[in-house]
């Protein structure tokens, strides 16, 4: 333990090692802050984390040095420092938690010999994602773990793990948590998971189509919470309009139940929800192979829909929107009911 108080200057590797030693110490002691000594250790840990941050980001005197960052990153992932840091995070004070979050975020992007070694580490320690996701259930930790999680899912393999894990179901609850800051953070992560890595998302959605969209419809699109409905319909538009998800889109717009939900959203008094719902609704109409029951619903509601679109306007002029609207109106007006 004497080595802890070596005089400066220390190399980046020294700082990582010392941080690790202090984390091990913190991890072993269930009751921190009991003695002066422990308090001092905690202070020392805070200082070290701050120093890691300033090596990675630079400070008011100096720019970050690529070589130092690489050494730090290599040492950090050579051993289990990330696991310790995540585990001990609740024991750290607010400022140190924030510093640690920024350090973890930065490390995800550091390359060592043109490899993202963070990705390799996380693949081998993928259970850490379980801790990070569960963070949304802890008011104190949610924003820190949430921010770390969003950085980790920049790696495709990590995002794939989270998407395919049981955690995915929990997000439907997390994004409706009453604490707005936490719910919004979870929503941002959810969106990232479903939009960032195109091929992974497309694969996930086709494999999990049934439960995913059943939950999506009932929990999000039909939620009683305004902001949930609004974010969900926007995200649904983003997902379905993405070229890589075209198979999923075709399937989605062939369902009569989905059409019903979207038509209800079109009738909302909130202009923003109406508009976002339109961007999904138009896909049902534009579908060249509309099933008979979809055509039937559109024909039955033709006059109502046309009346709705007659006064349907965006606040700002939007040529694309007007063109889409005109197309939808033409298409609906020309529909003929199909035989059963």
């Amino acid at each position: 333990m004497k080595s802890l108080f070596k005089p400066k200057p220390r190399t980046p590797v020294d700082v990582v090692r010392q941080t690790r030693d202090l984390l091990i110490y913190t991890d072993r002691n269930p009751d921190t802050k009991e003695t002066k000594r422990e308090e001092k250790q905690m202070l020392e840990l805070s200082k070290n984390v701050r120093e890691l941050k300033s090596i990675l980001y630079g400070n008011s005197e100096s720019e970050p040095v690529a070589e130092a960052c690489a050494q730090l990153t290599q040492e950090f992932f050579r051993d289990n420092t990330l696991r310790l840091l995540i585990k001990c995070l609740p024991k750290l004070n607010l400022e140190t938690r924030k510093d640690a979050t920024q350090v973890v975020a930065n490390l995800q992007r550091q390359q060592v010999q043109s490899r993202l070694i963070a990705s390799d580490y996380l693949e081998a320690n993928i259970d850490l994602m379980d801790t990070l996701v569960a963070g949304y259930e802890n008011t104190e930790m949610a924003l820190h773990y949430g921010a770390m999680l969003r950085e980790c899912i920049r790696h495709q393999s990590v995002a794939k793990y989270v998407l395919e894990s049981q955690h995915m179901k929990k997000f439907f609850d997390y994004i409706q948590l009453p604490n707005f800051d936490i719910a919004a953070d979870a929503a941002a992560t959810f969106k990232e998971l479903l939009t960032r890595h195109k091929s992974t998302v497309a694969e996930f959605l086709s494999k999990n189509y049934d439960w995913f969209f059943a939950e999506y419809n009932s929990k999000l699109l039909e939620s009683t919470n305004y902001i949930t409905r609004r974010q969900a319909v926007k995200l649904l538009g983003d997902i379905l309009l993405d070229r890589s998800n075209s198979a999923v889109m075709t399937r989605y717009v062939s369902s009569r139940e989905n059409l019903r939900i979207l038509m209800n959203l079109l009738r909302e008094s909130s202009k923003s929800i109406q508009l976002e719902a339109f961007h999904v609704f138009k896909l049902f109409v534009a579908n060249q192979n509309k099933p008979a029951d979809i055509v039937g619903i559109l024909v039955t509601n033709r006059s109502k829909l046309l009346r709705l679109f007659a006064d349907f306007k965006t606040d700002k002029e939007d040529e694309q929107f007007e063109a889409d609207k005109a197309h939808v109106v033409r298409e609906i007006a020309a529909l003929e009911p199909k035989g059963p």
Binding site: A105, N106, N179, D181, K234, S270
Partner: protein
């Protein structure tokens, strides 16, 4: 099963179960405020804007603690809520005695409620407007500035820029404590979000942001032509302007419309003495040398020469500064309450002008800084001070009449706002040759914009007439319809003006670059500015 888990989760969140944490740092001991609207009782309105209302309220289960609640209409904000999310996060993770953070935030139908500590004396801008129109005494300024520097030092240390420092965002409590509010445009230099224009590579404080944000009069020159990027030092500039605002009751150049103030800042170096000259010659020796030095160092056009917050705190100006008691004695005694000031402000405004003004004001603010969820500074009644008010039409008119047409300006824009008397002396005499060239060209630009906006208006009036003639049925009365149309037209006009202004700025910047290139082959644009 799932439901019960969610319920228990909710219980944790809503404070029935307060998490016991292994450490006892004061920051993790923040009391959990309830997350449902029924736990709060609204007492009074203390601020109104187009999309938000600020209330004074009590939190019943928390021993009826007094709080401020900002209720924001989410239906008016953009769909991805990224700005709101970022601000909510910043607010709940900052912990400093000089920073106004939130107790909690939650949605109530379409509104977001942000529950904050109630700062009973309100913003310094509203205090100045109601009781100190010529500025605060220097010893009080010193206290305020010191406290704000503490806040800035903390923010900058965390890599956050505030980006909108001004008296309207400085709040004071009945015990004289000072807090910096409103993190709507603040941003973190560590968040490498490409949307924010932050470069991806991890850089130190020289990291450059490229988004224009803030309120014109307080904006640093490098923020205005943000092509070059700016950094933490932009806050130091705004801090310097705020110091002047506290000293004189208004920011410098505020007698000019915002676009003009921006142009001036770019085209020539701003000097403390300029301000004193056109402002009030009586005041010339009112302030100590230390104060002037401090302000001058913050207003250095070269960001790297401005001292950081930490360093400013060591300035001799703060050496003998007093405690908050002085503020209580000097400023707060006999001051009308926030509620009273708000109501008074409401009455003073002409009822017919009110909504339009607010619309315009808020609209422009929105354009500049987008949605913000903290801070109470909107709709303050100091219209003269309000940087967002008259808009570009004034600059166009003024330039057309080459200087002395303040009457036509005030007539056009706003009947109730007192137009600065100093206007005449301001822009006419000062500039050199360079400025005249700039003026001539911007006159052309201005006229073009005017022509464009007139066309726009003609079209709008045309459609208005059509509508009046054609449409006879409908639930709305004609007045209502006209009102709505007018609103829409005003909004369109505003957008047009903004676009025009942006183009003007772009042009200006390019011209500067060219002249810099000619004057000095290896010097940058900044050298040209100094010339």
């Amino acid at each position: 099963m799932k439901l019960s888990r969610l319920n228990s989760l909710r219980r944790v969140q809503s404070g029935d179960l307060i998490m016991k944490l292994p450490d006892d740092h004061d920051d993790s001991r923040r009391p959990q405020f309830p997350l449902d609207s029924t736990s709060y009782k609204i007492i009074d309105e203390i601020g109104v804007g187009v999309s938000a209302v600020v209330y004074k309220a009590i939190c019943i289960p928390m021993n009826s603690a007094v709080v401020a609640i900002k209720a924001i209409d989410l239906d008016r904000s953009r769909a991805d809520f990224d700005d709101i999310r970022r601000e909510a996060k910043i607010l709940s993770l900052l912990s400093h005695p000089n920073i106004l953070n939130s107790h909690c935030s939650f949605t109530v139908d379409r509104r977001l409620w942000v529950v904050m500590p109630f700062m009973s004396a309100g913003s310094l801008q509203s205090i100045i407007t109601s009781s100190f129109p010529d500025g605060l005494p220097e010893p009080c300024i010193a206290i305020v500035l010191r406290e704000i520097l503490h806040a800035l030092s903390y923010l900058h240390d965390q890599g956050h820029l505030h980006r909108d420092i001004k008296a309207g965002n400085i709040l004071i409590d009945s015990n004289g404590s000072i807090k910096l509010a409103d993190f709507g445009v603040s941003t973190s230099i560590f968040e490498s979000n490409s949307k924010q224009g932050v470069s991806i590579s991890p850089l130190s404080t020289s990291i450059m942001l490229k988004e224009v944000a803030g309120t014109p009069y307080w904006m640093a020159p490098e923020v205005i032509h943000s092509h070059n990027g700016y950094s933490l030092k932009a806050d130091i500039w705004s801090f310097g302007i705020t110091a002047l605002e506290l000293a004189h009751g208004r920011p410098p150049l505020s007698h000019l419309p915002p676009s003009k103030s921006l142009l001036l800042k770019i085209t020539r170096r701003f000097r403390f003495s300029d301000y004193e000259n056109h402002h009030n010659s009586k005041n010339k020796n009112k302030f100590s040398k230390g104060f002037k030095e401090l302000v001058a160092s913050c207003l250095d056009p070269e960001p790297s020469r401005r001292p950081c917050a930490e360093k400013l705190l060591k300035h001799p100006f703060f050496k003998n500064s007093k405690g908050p008691d002085l503020l209580v004695k000097t400023i707060l005694q006999g001051l009308p309450s926030v509620e009273e000031r708000f109501k008074l402000g409401k009455l003073q405004r002409l009822p017919s002008m009110k909504t339009e003004e607010e619309e315009e004001e808020e609209l422009e603010k929105e354009i500049i800084k987008q949605r913000r969820i903290s801070g109470w500074n909107f709709n303050e009644d100091g219209l003269e001070l309000d940087p967002v008010f008259p808009g570009e039409e004034c600059s166009i008119m003024e330039e057309k009449g080459s200087g002395n047409s303040s009457e036509c300006c005030s007539g056009l824009s706003d009947l109730s706002s007192p137009v600065g008397n100093e206007r005449g002396g301001g822009s006419g005499g000062g500039g050199g040759e360079e400025e005249e060239v700039v003026d001539r060209e911007s006159i052309v630009g201005g006229l073009m914009a005017l022509k464009r906006s007139l066309d726009e208006q003609r079209r709008a009036v045309g459609s208005l007439i059509e509508l009046m003639e054609g449409e006879k049925v409908g639930e709305m009365s004609r007045e209502e319809q006209m009102g709505r149309l007018m609103e829409k037209v005003t909004r369109e006009l505003e957008n047009e003006r903004r676009r025009n202004f942006e183009l003007e700025m772009e042009l200006e910047f390019l011209r500067l670059q060219i002249s810099a290139f000619h004057n000095n082959n290896d010097g940058g644009a900044s050298t040209a500015i100094n010339n």
